[in-house]
């Protein structure tokens, strides 16, 4: 990804008269222009969202950060992101907690366990999960997963209901925990593919040395592959977290929203930034749209932070191993 001067394929610097030819100048201007255009778009996204958001927040009669309501269209606009922030962060973190161990398992399966001839078709099957559009996940989640989960939830309630977090009264399970499961399925492919790449790069000599000393396959993985891949797995999970934070349609179809924070994750209610934007957009007036844009800005900042951190870890690791 990084353009380093040592990269074998980058052409040598040639400050010759070729650069002065008209064709070259036009081409350079065009290609540099597109690069700059990308930066301009990024800046414009931040600026435009901020302008609309500032407008909305100045009209808000509640506290934008702590109000438990979303009512920007009334005469006394009151809205706050507390419920949305809670729902977004909790559902994404649970999704990550479910997905990362499974994804690491799959990555190890593809890189070290699967029969060699099967490895790349199997990796392809996992990549197919990424190709399914999110609205189809939503449809499947709402019409197939939700009815099938109520049995599991009753069981959880029987044994863990006393914690309060897993109490369940038997309605349709269109809850935060259900969307966490759905999000976990959706972020599996990206976490898997990044982890797999890292595991495949683990130094073969170390693995062979461990095997020669009589280590079992699991000991090889624990002693040489996992320590090598740790930072890669961390950044992979953060990329997955970034995906989960911004997922819209799957959440909007499955979750039954409500502006309350439920102690139980299995009961309907709550919401996420993206879901709230998609669900309440059509009923929004002028200020309502600005309020949604303000919540979108928070989401934008959140994903920027998570993704930036993930990229930083990847590039630091790259320098370290290079």
């Amino acid at each position: 990804m990084d353009i380093s001067p040592t990269s074998a394929t980058s052409p040598p610097p040639r400050p010759t008269r070729a650069a002065t030819r008209a064709g070259d100048r036009i081409f350079l201007a065009l290609s540099r222009g597109s690069g700059v255009l990308l930066l301009v778009i990024m800046a414009a996204i931040a600026v435009f969202l901020t302008v609309r958001a500032a407008n909305a927040i100045s009209e808000d009669e509640g506290n934008f950060l702590t109000t438990f309501a979303w009512d920007p269209n009334s005469a006394h606009p009151t809205f706050g992101i507390a419920v949305l922030a809670f729902g977004t962060v909790v559902s994404s973190v649970i999704a990550m907690a479910i997905a990362v161990p499974i994804a690491v398992g799959i990555a190890l399966f593809v890189s070290h366990y699967a029969p060699r001839r099967l490895a790349s078709p199997l990796a392809f099957v996992i990549d197919l999960l990424a190709a399914v559009p999110s609205i189809v996940y939503g449809l499947w989640g709402a019409l197939f997963l939700v009815p099938h989960l109520s049995g599991v939830y009753s069981w959880l309630d029987d044994y863990f209901g006393w914690t309060g977090v897993f109490s369940y009264s038997g309605g349709p399970s269109r809850s935060i925990f259900t969307i966490s499961i759905l999000l976990a399925i959706m972020i599996l492919p990206i976490v898997t593919s990044v982890s797999r790449e890292v595991f495949l790069q683990a130094p073969k000599t170390q693995e062979e040395a461990a095997l020669a000393l009589g280590a079992t396959r699991w000991e090889v993985i624990r002693m040489s592959v996992l320590p090598f891949g740790r930072s890669g797995v961390i950044s992979a999970s953060m990329l997955g977290l970034g995906r989960a934070l911004g997922e819209t349609m799957a959440v909007a179809t499955v979750l039954s929203p409500g502006f309350v924070i439920n102690a139980s994750l299995l009961e309907p209610g709550g919401g996420t930034f993206a879901q709230n934007i998609a669900s309440s957009f059509k009923e929004s007036g002028e200020l309502g749209k600005d309020a949604l844009i303000a919540s979108g800005l928070v989401l934008f900042a959140l994903t920027l932070l998570v993704n930036g951190a993930a990229r930083m870890i990847i590039s630091r690791r790259k320098e370290y191993t290079a």
């Binding site: 353009i3 990269s7 980058s10 052409p11 610097p13 070729a18 081409f27 350079l28 290609s31 222009g33 597109s34 690069g35 990308l38 930066l39 414009a44 996204i45 969202l49 302008v51 499974i102 690491v104 398992g105 190890l108 399966f109 070290h112 366990y113 060699r116 490895a119 199997l122 099957v125 996992i126 990549d127 197919l128 190709a131 399914v132 559009p133 999110s134 189809v136 449809l139 019409l143 099938h148 049995g151 599991v152 399925i185 495949l200 073969k204 095997l211 079992t216 396959r217 699991w218 911004g246 349609m249 179809t253 993206a274 934007i277 998609a278 957009f281 844009i293 979108g296 920027l304 990229r311």
Partner: protein, 360 residues
């Protein structure tokens, strides 16, 4: 995305088991298969006996039984270290199966429920004049919308993405290239709904245009650009430097070298990346909800008036909340998945057929 295009380094054969002849008793090779079969049988038996309705619970029981029995057997016969190894192997297999279950279930549900109403009439009619609770109607207007919106988005994003990648690989040096690289990475992570909100505030609120397919296309283009840049960049880096040097040595200007030598060499991989990017945005529905507004009738003009699109159509039909609409939603989901999967498969076929011609 890029990881599927770049050839994987060959794995040296997965770790061979240590030789069995060193007087260490081992479980026979068929043991895992037998235990797995028994565990499945026990899972079904317990499930039926205890009256558990959910198949997922049967599977879970079988998986837990398999892992536990294998661990116990290995610990007895082979010793604790081997048992741990067996445990890890079983868990890794269980992880893989866990991931395949939702994929198979999703594809199966979509095909089984979608095939019911999917026929020629469904593909060639719109929803004009069809009540939501009555069967009939179709997706023609949504297909038109998707094709036009995705086409326009590609027309905007492909040239910009290609040129940016060329800049980064062929010209890029110094601060600007570093900044662009970083922000392309960051841009990959922008949630689709945020791209939609941006176009909403710029195009519809500030410039006061109305909802149209074109507004949706612009948001899709923003989502597509970084994907195109990233995949094209990877492909251009694979072009051997000798080709560039040979062309430059013959006195060919740099821009003609790029157009006539570098791009044709990498064209297979670039096409693959482009098609994967198209497949990705074809399934986006969040920006469409904000910018295109949805419509029940055929609107061939993407620049004027509300349109529909396949993902939006699915959302709309689901929101209607009755059986006839659910049937239509599943059928449209089947059409959309088929479209996206075909794009994916063709893209991978091109990647294999026109594998990047690297130096040897």
């Amino acid at each position: 995305m890029s990881d599927v295009i770049v050839d994987r380094p060959t794995v040296s054969d997965s770790a061979p088991l240590p030789p069995a002849g060193l007087h260490r008793p081992r479980l026979p090779r068929w043991a895992p298969a037998v235990v797995a079969a028994l565990a499945v049988a026990a899972g079904v038996g317990i499930g039926l006996g205890a009256g558990l309705s959910s198949r997922a619970q049967w599977g879970l029981i079988a998986a837990i039984l398999f892992v536990a029995v294998m661990y116990a057997a290995a610990a007895r016969v082979e010793g604790l270290r081997q048992a741990k190894d067996r445990l890890a192997t079983s868990l890794v297999w269980v992880c893989f199966l866990l991931a395949v279950v939702p994929l198979v279930s999703l594809l199966w549900e979509t095909i089984a429920r979608g095939i019911k109403v999917l026929d020629g009439a469904f593909l060639s009619h719109s929803m004009a004049g069809v009540l939501t609770i009555q069967p009939g109607g179709g997706v023609y207007h949504a297909i038109i919308g998707t094709l036009e919106q995705v086409g326009i988005a590609t027309a905007i994003a492909a040239p910009i993405g290609l040129l940016t990648a060329i800049y980064l690989v062929e010209y890029g040096r110094g601060r600007l290239a570093k900044v662009v690289t970083f922000f392309v990475d960051v841009m990959t992570g922008i949630p689709s709904i945020v791209a939609g909100l941006f176009i909403l505030s710029l195009w519809i609120i500030m410039l006061d245009f109305s909802y149209s397919g074109f507004a949706g296309s612009m948001a899709l283009a923003i989502l597509m650009m970084p994907v195109v840049v990233r995949s094209t960049e990877e492909m251009l880096k694979l072009v051997p430097n000798e080709l560039r040097e040979a062309s430059l040595a013959l006195g060919v200007p740099k821009w003609r070298t790029i157009l006539k030598v570098v791009l044709p060499t990498a064209i297979g991989g670039i096409t693959t990346g482009l098609m994967l990017a198209i497949a990705r945005i074809a399934g986006e529905s969040a920006p469409i909800v904000l910018l295109v507004f949805g419509s029940q009738v055929i609107n061939n003009d993407p620049f004027e008036g509300a349109q529909s699109s396949l993902p939006y159509y699915i959302y709309e039909q689901w929101a209607n909340g009755n059986d006839a609409s659910y049937d239509r939603a599943w059928a449209a989901a089947l059409v959309l998945i088929a479209f996206v999967m075909i794009l994916n498969l063709v893209a991978r076929a091109i990647a294999r057929w026109k594998a990047p011609k690297t130096g040897r």
